[in-house]
């Protein structure tokens, strides 16, 4: 295979990443899996509308090592600008493969909160990391086959090639963020990680691991930002572990520049009476494929899945969501909103799976697309697989242009058409943001939206 000729994807590259022996072994196994798997093709249901055949691993190089900085003032301008207006209590800044700057207030440390980059965590809290790393997003694609009644057909198993990118990440992740919040600890202000990328032709494999232990509460914000690049790649993995009675709010803002290919799998494992609230914002990159999965493992668990994205020009955004109910009395509520302008392409596949025995499931899924151009195209594929008989599930998707009556109303008040369109696009997305009680990051997202709306 020509792909393995690239040193960046060799066993030596894995060894060079260091870390404990068990990790190197997991990495090596993942690398082998990566080498053995083909890229997913359109014949694979989950990749039907997104063509990744052009991804060429032979040409990619890892990101260069950047020096750590001791002073915020030495951080890249884009990061400083973000830090100036964020209210995160503690943060990590990744530039290149490593963390270059970290802040953790003493008060959090005293509460027993662990918040550091994954490599450091491997040194300081090896047992913790070992327990959870790869437990939710392993190298191979998680088997989300539903549990069906005897004698009936369960859902199809995933195609192994769906593990291609997660295997790559499992083998070669570098800039990892690690959060552990101990039992009964509530962290008031959000924690965050900023990742920047500034090299054309490079790839980065980012990883976030958040563990909210029993009855704890925390908010984590992942932000990704870059200038426009020529052919850069970000392969992400996000593992969210929400233990009994814990509450985790997770926000991801993908604001890469054009030219970046972004492929990320995010998966939450939600235990008994635990709550996961997530928001995934996709604005950047040229090709962006994001998977958001909630595995409702525990009785009474709850997952809110919000998404907003805005694709323009040649952008292709693919969102693949899963609400998998494995326990009774769990609740999931998904609301995704997409705006497509110019010749952009949007794909939304949303799946609700309910296992046998997951009675009293409440599962909702809504996807709405606003089309600003007749050349933009959207494919929405909502799917249900229900193996329990006492459930409430609904799904729906709508696609259409700006509401002509709303448009006319604004025009009739003297607002020019182009501004009226911007107002309606912003309003359309605002609806999602109004459900996120994080003033500072919402303000940032609004600014990102405004910039994008302004450019249309």
């Amino acid at each position: 295979m020509t792909q393995t000729l690239n040193q960046a994807f060799s066993a030596e590259a894995v060894t060079a990443l260091g870390g404990p022996e068990w990790l190197t072994e997991r990495r090596r196994a993942a690398l082998e899996l990566f080498g053995a798997l083909p890229l997913p093709t359109e014949a694979v249901e989950a990749w039907k509308y997104t063509d990744v055949s052009g991804i060429d691993f032979t040409a990619m190089k890892p990101t260069r090592v950047k020096p750590a900085v001791t002073d915020e003032a030495a951080l890249p301008e884009s990061v400083r600008a973000r830090l100036a207006s964020t209210d995160v209590a503690a943060y990590l800044v990744f530039d290149g493969p490593d963390v270059v700057y970290a802040s953790l207030p003493e008060a959090l440390r005293e509460q027993g909160v662990v918040f550091t980059d994954l490599r450091s965590a491997l040194a300081s809290h090896e047992a913790l990391v070992r327990e959870y790393l790869y437990s939710v997003v392993p190298a191979e694609v998680p088997d989300d086959t539903t549990v069906a009644a005897p004698g009936t057909t369960p859902s199809k198993s995933p195609d192994p090639s769906e593990g291609k990118f997660s295997a790559l990440n499992a083998a070669l992740w570098t800039n990892g963020a690690f959060v552990y919040v101990p039992r009964n600890v509530e962290v008031e202000l959000p924690l965050g990680a900023f990742r920047v990328l500034d090299e054309s032709g490079a790839f980065t494999a980012t990883r976030t691991l958040v563990v909210a232990d029993v009855n704890s509460k925390v908010t984590f914000i992942d932000e990704q930002d870059s200038p426009d690049l020529e052919g850069a790649f970000a392969f992400g993995a996000v593992e969210l572990i929400v233990k009994d009675g814990a509450q985790l709010r997770y926000v991801s803002v993908q604001n890469w520049g054009r030219g970046v290919t972004h492929i990320q799998r995010q998966r939450g494992d939600v235990a008994r009476d635990a709550t996961l609230n997530s928001l995934v914002v996709t604005m950047g990159g040229t090709l962006s494929r994001t998977e958001m999965q909630s595995y409702l493992r525990g009785q009474g668990s709850s997952s809110e899945m919000l998404g907003l994205n805005f694709a323009s020009e040649d952008q292709h955004f693919d969102h693949y969501t899963l609400q998998h109910h494995a326990a009774p009395h769990a609740h999931s509520d998904l609301l995704y909103k997409s705006v497509l302008a110019d010749t952009a392409r949007g794909v939304f596949s949303g799946m609700i799976k309910v296992d046998l025995g997951a009675q009293k499931t409440d599962a909702y899924q809504k996807h709405r697309t606003l089309l600003l151009s007749s050349e933009a195209r959207n494919d929405s594929i909502p799917q249900l697989e229900i193996n329990a008989n006492d459930v409430r599930c609904s799904h729906g998707s709508t696609t259409g242009p700006v509401d002509p009556e709303q448009m006319f109303y604004l025009l009739a008040r003297g607002v020019p058409r182009s501004l009226a369109e911007k107002m309606l696009v912003t309003a359309f997305l605002e609806d999602v943001l109004s459900r996120v009680p994080l003033a500072s990051v919402v303000k940032y997202i609004e600014a990102v939206i405004a910039e994008k709306v302004g450019a249309v």
């Binding site: 009556e405 709303q406 006319f408 604004l410 025009l411 009739a412 003297g414 607002v415 501004l419």
Partner: protein, 251 residues
């Protein structure tokens, strides 16, 4: 002579269906005219055609605003020229706050490079809210989202007060209002009345015209003005109903 809203032989249709069949009405500035008539005879259509609703096609006739033919103008241009329609059924726009909307609509009326100052906006807003006996917190709400029928109507008048129109068209602003709200809304409209304001007040009820006394009354049946008169005409309609005007249409 040219300071008037002039509707000349206006014909308009939806698709192939003709609705207006030759409407003639002239309203000089300084006057408000009531427009009455049975359900489904073209009153709202007339209102919407004047402000440029793309649902309707004008097949014949002219609309002149202070001498400018507006038929070729976009709805937003017409609004900036001074036309204002208080809608019969205002739409809900969740995600756009009233405050932001008003500010942008005011800004749109400014010449290039001139900003609506905070003082100008806020001062005007305070005044308008006072007239409408409304709490300031309302402007942080999304436009008409979840508003009661009465609140929507009041919000139309708030916008009217903020945007300084020269010709207002009110489409059944009174329907669905209780007496107190009716008084407040009328107070708002009357606060704008003067030599520079003209307009049409579409209504079915004398009740409104007790508060907003019209200079003339036009009755529209089957897409035409079949009768024009003074305020006494509205009283007659209130007492006798529409049967006799339908007769007029047939004649």
């Amino acid at each position: 002579m040219t300071n008037q809203l002039e509707i000349r032989n206006l014909h308009a249709s939806v698709g192939d269906l003709p609705i207006l069949r030759g409407v003639n009405i002239t309203v000089p500035r300084g006057e408000l005219h009531a427009v009455m008539g049975p359900n489904g005879n073209g009153k709202s259509t007339l209102a919407k055609v004047i402000v440029g609703d793309p649902e309707y096609t004008v097949t014949e006739g002219e609309i002149l605003v202070d001498g400018h033919n507006v038929l070729e103008m976009e709805p937003d241009e017409r609004a900036r020229l001074g036309l204002f329609l208080a809608f019969q059924y205002p739409v809900e726009i969740p995600g756009v706050t009233i405050a932001n909307f008003l500010r942008l609509a005011m800004q749109a009326r400014k010449p290039e490079g001139e900003e609506v100052s905070f003082m100008e906006f806020y001062g005007k807003l305070q005044e308008a809210l006072k007239v409408l006996e409304w709490d300031e917190s309302i402007v942080e709400r999304y436009l008409n989202a979840g508003f009661s029928g009465g609140e929507k109507k009041r919000n139309e008048i708030l916008q009217m007060l903020m945007l300084d129109p020269t010709y207002i068209i009110m489409d059944e602003t009174d329907s669905g209002l209780d007496v107190d709200a009716l008084k407040i809304v009328s107070k708002g409209v009357n606060s704008l009345r003067g030599p520079n304001l003209g307009g049409l007040v579409i209504t079915h009820y004398q009740r409104l015209l007790n508060y907003i006394v019209p200079d003339k009354v036009h009755i529209i049946v089957e897409g035409r003005v079949v009768q024009t008169g003074g305020p006494e005409l509205a009283q007659r309609l209130d007492a006798e109903g529409y049967d006799w005007v339908k007769e007029l249409a047939r004649a």
